[in-house]
Symmetry: C2
Amino acid sequence: MKNIPIASVERVAKYIRCLKHLQSKGEEIVSSKKLAEHTQVTPEQVRKDLSYFGKFGKTGTGYNIKKVVKRLSNILKGRKNWNVCIIGAGALGTALSRYQGFRDAGYNIVALFDKDPEKIGKKIGSAEVYDIKKFSDITKKKDIKLAIIAVPAESIEEVEEYIAKSQIKGVLNFVPVTLNFNTKRKIAIIEVDLAQKLYILSYLTKK
Amino acid sequence: MKNIPIASVERVAKYIRCLKHLQSKGEEIVSSKKLAEHTQVTPEQVRKDLSYFGKFGKTGTGYNIKKVVKRLSNILKGRKNWNVCIIGAGALGTALSRYQGFRDAGYNIVALFDKDPEKIGKKIGSAEVYDIKKFSDITKKKDIKLAIIAVPAESIEEVEEYIAKSQIKGVLNFVPVTLNFNTKRKIAIIEVDLAQKLYILSYLTKK
DNA sequence: CCCGATTGTGAAATTTAATTGCAATAGTTT
DNA sequence: AAACTATTGCAATTAAATTTCACAATCGGG
């Protein structure tokens, strides 16, 4: 696997989601044409995207949904489910920790972190809120490699330090501040700026 | 304004956010070089992006932060703030309605909608939860043009119908289902698939 | 009025994405 | 079992989008 366009990777995640949906409706086989209709791309695009990752279909027939879902999610997610933590047990962090979609995709929220003594020790869904001071410790013990950040903007630098010192490999950042880790090891970052989405949306409505 | 790359529009939203941050620290002037450092792009990229929308700087000096923020957010958001509603008063919808970042950016959550009688009538933050049956009515009355969807996947088709019949112009969709409005008028859609982000993140950590 | 700093922008280069065309194959029908 | 239809996988091509480059033009300070 070398230079796969990120756009293709993103669409593949979309295909997985769509295929799971079709599966839940009892479908077993799907063609690139049908999958394309459901995901609003062209059939050629579907085949092209998949071809980056291998051969999935049977000529003349189509794709076996079950097999494809399994192989694709192995590629994106790996074989095992991931343990994930959420930093910030405020409104957003709490809501995210209850978000069923994460579990369905194979990502389990197993811990939250906060510095507010009021919140530490509480249970939210199936996860407990821990003292952020124990971040490195607990993420190690629980084998957590991915973190979701949902703290107020003013706390972000503090959080950056905790993450830098830990074993975390990937970060999903909901805080509208560009992250800047001072580490040698590479930490993957995905930024989700919700307010930015509204800016773009209102811009698009005017075009 | 003709063919502005969407990637540029997205970065411009990022610049706004960064400039506001610098402003809050008391800075008044910034160079493309400095802005680039803060947003992790190149100075050339910054200047290029801005140039799609006009001339903002002073040769030899840099950019007046206050002026640029004002002009850019006028371009993306327009002069007036927007009224926004949230469909789905569950955990996610509730958290989003309290999200301060929306207000800071000039988007006010003025209503929520749900079909659960238990929830209808409650106040969440400053907004009330209304019966989804009154969607068209209330969005019209309150001059709401943007909607955020945060319902369970199985309710999505119902929601699509309500939106199609209303005056809504743009949709921010948190439900992992590709939307499909049957309308002549164009509705702008931005999809935010949170589970997809984790797929991509775990994929990136393995590269 | 010279000098270093900095913008704005065409043009070139690069990267990414979409399209086309077709051989190969699987299942279905006659 | 031959003909027919549907469909994949790919190589090659074309097109589009994005980024980088290079430099003239200009500003402000000493």
